[in-house]
């Protein structure tokens, strides 16, 4: 994801103020099944990644903040299964309102599974972008590399991300 949430602020003031003022409920999302046993981190480019308890696997997606700012998502170009990627690599893209926005790997990892259901129902990313369960808007499941674990430590936790997006909104 590009810094799109910020990008689109000027274009969609109404949508933006809704995002900025909405109460943050990241820690208490009703649909998440793994929030209790996984740690979630965020990138400045608005991707999230859950790390499993054994730190070997993860699930990634784009943040609720970004999904709202992007507008109606009409297509999700999924990553290639089996691909090994470095943090920051473009692994897929989402299209909304004529914009193809890259999805970047939040950490170094290997893509093991992609959420095929999004190809048919891309709007799921708008509805439940941070849901990593079946039927959720998660993008891919990954195997975490040693480097990936180090990358993970540099990402923001939900509190820091919340502050980060709030600060972005104040510009």
């Amino acid at each position: 994801m590009a810094s799109i949430a910020r990008c689109l602020r000027a274009a969609r003031p109404a949508a933006f103020s809704a995002v900025a003022s909405a109460p943050r409920t990241i820690g208490a999302r009703p649909f998440s099944v793994t929030a209790t046993n996984a740690i979630r981190r965020y990138t400045k480019e608005h991707e999230w990644i859950d790390l499993s308890a054994d730190k070997k696997t993860g699930v990634l997606g784009i943040s609720e903040y970004a999904a709202k700012a992007l507008g109606d998502i009409v297509y999700v170009e999924l990553p290639a299964e089996g691909k090994e990627v470095t943090a920051g690599d473009a692994i897929g893209a989402v299209e909304s309102v004529k914009s193809a926005a890259d999805i970047n790997a939040p950490i170094s990892c290997k893509i093991t599974q992609v959420n095929l259901a999004l190809e048919e129902k891309p709007g799921t990313v708008n509805q439940v972008p941070e849901d990593d369960s079946h039927g959720g808007g998660w993008i891919a499941k990954v195997q975490v590399t040693e480097q990936g674990l180090k990358d993970f430590d540099n990402l923001m936790d939900s509190t820091a991300y919340e502050e980060f997006t709030a600060a972005e909104g104040e510009h």
């Binding site: 689109l8 274009a11 309102v97 193809a100 926005a101």
Partner: protein, 469 residues
């Protein structure tokens, strides 16, 4: 043959190009063998004008600017392409484009104006028959959005900037101001971030969205690409295209009623020219861009020519990707094709031509150009056989075929069938639907092959092949 002397000759010709007008204080010329346009990539404000009319190359130069320019820089890039149909990143060429009309090319209605397109001299050395039509290139761009038509009467503008200052209307508004300065009335940015022109109904022609005696025509379409660090907004602008009457036909596929596609479908709009010249338009857009980002005279105006762009490894890499059938056709999101209404696609089907064998039913699921599942029935088997099992074997044999590599559906069906079958009518109809030329003197050619052939005839491809090992 294509040694340094040829390059020097080309460079000399470019340095006297009309783009380097006398009215601008800083004119950049390109002596042979110096550093190319890339030396400007770290400047805060950059303005480039491509002299190439190759759509694949111009998009590759643009992509190179997007990826390699300083993250804080702001760039304007202007280019004009030879006739092309450009589909969005996540679109379906079988659904969006009339591939038969595309291949037929455009009649050279205005031979003098069209002399500027490289296609005219590309074919100059070949047979005379080819001069009769002007080829139309099929291009898939990297940005989102719908399908557009380009030609010499259309100029494309592109702004690359940090994402923080990006919004979907900002640069369309810039172009609107440029048009107004040129005396074009009634232009504005609409809710789809396109530039439209409101014309008095008495003056306008065609069927626009009529409002209080006004008709609205689209004159410029927008698309965007967002990377981790950069944002790109590019748009067309119909200035003096002589092919407006042909655009609608080119963008209407015979497969429309039979294909249901994932991804992005185009929104049709009535179009019109704004009636200004290409260089006039470029100057006005550059003026507005400078007013926005640095004042009069800010930012050198840099001319980019084909030969120097092709010296950049990244540009060539991007070019190879954009010209490959795997990108043009293989990037297509999953779609289903069915001759009859299905649960998934219950639309009533267009009346099928009478030549189709009675009872023929065909259903394919195609993912990234590969047939994933197929069900064909109703073909007439010549021997008395168990039709159901024959159909099943035939359908199974179609799975995993790449649809853009099929040369002739008659052959494909015949080879898939376990026993002799009459496939001529069904095959011809499928050829028609999927844009395959019914094989003529040159033999069977798939869409991929036709595309490769067309690209191989372009100046850029010839230059590349002459200069590679």
């Amino acid at each position: 043959m294509a040694g340094p002397s040829r390059l020097a000759a080309i460079t000399r010709r470019i340095s006297s190009s009309p783009y380097q007008s006398h009215s601008h204080p800083k004119i950049v010329t390109w002596p042979a063998q110096t550093r190319p346009y890339t030396q400007y990539l770290s400047r805060p404000l950059q303005i480039y004008r491509s002299t190439s009319t190759d759509p694949y190359l111009n998009l590759s130069i643009e992509h190179h600017l997007l990826q390699r320019s300083h993250p804080d820089s702001t760039i304007l890039f202007l280019y004009t392409n030879r006739p092309s149909v450009v589909i969005g990143r996540n679109q379906n060429p079988w659904l969006e484009v009339n591939l038969h009309l595309l291949r037929q090319g455009l009649p050279p209605s205005a031979p003098l104006d069209q002399q500027q397109t490289p296609s005219a001299d590309t074919h100059g050395g070949g047979a005379h028959i080819k001069i009769k039509t002007i080829p139309v290139s099929l291009v898939r761009r990297r940005s989102g959005g719908g399908t557009v038509f380009h030609d010499a009467g259309n100029t494309n503008w592109s702004v690359i900037c940090p994402p923080a200052v990006f919004d979907r209307d900002r640069h369309a508004e810039m172009v609107v101001r440029a048009l107004r300065r040129l005396g074009v009335d009634g232009v504005r940015v609409n809710g789809r971030h396109d530039i439209v022109m409101d014309v008095d109904a008495a003056v306008g022609r065609g069927y626009g969205g009529e409002e209080e005696g006004k008709q609205t025509f689209k004159v410029s379409g927008s698309a965007y690409k967002l990377t981790r660090t950069r944002s790109l907004h590019h748009g067309t602008c119909l200035l003096r295209s002589e092919n407006l009457g042909r655009v609608s036909g080119l963008l209407r596929s015979p497969a429309e009623g039979f294909i249901k596609a994932r991804g992005v479908e185009s929104v049709r709009s009535p179009i019109r020219n704004v009636g200004v010249g290409g260089e006039e338009f470029a100057d006005a857009v550059i003026g507005e861009f400078r007013r926005m980002y640095g004042g009069e005279g800010a930012g050198d105006r840099v001319v980019v020519c084909e030969e120097e762009a092709l010296m950049m490894e990244d540009v060539v890499k991007g070019l190879r990707e954009l010209t490959s059938p795997d990108w043009i056709f293989g990037q297509t999101p999953q779609f289903t094709f069915s001759t009859h209404p299905t649960e998934d696609d219950p639309r009533e089907r267009p009346r099928i031509e009478h030549s189709l064998p009675y009872g023929l039913q065909a259903h394919f699921t195609v993912r990234h150009g590969d047939i994933q599942s197929a069900a064909v029935s109703g073909l007439e088997y010549q021997d008395s056989v168990d039709e159901a099992s024959q159909n099943e074997i035939l359908s199974k044999a179609l799975v995993n075929q790449h649809i853009h590599h099929i040369k002739d559906w008659r052959t494909t069906l015949k080879q898939a069938s376990p026993s002799p079958v009459d496939v001529d009518d069904a095959g011809e109809w499928l050829n028609h639907i999927f844009g395959i030329q019914t094989p003529g003197v040159k033999g069977d050619r798939s869409l991929a092959e036709t595309t490769i052939e067309m690209i191989a005839q372009t100046k850029v491809a010839q230059y590349l092949s002459q200069n590679s090992d």
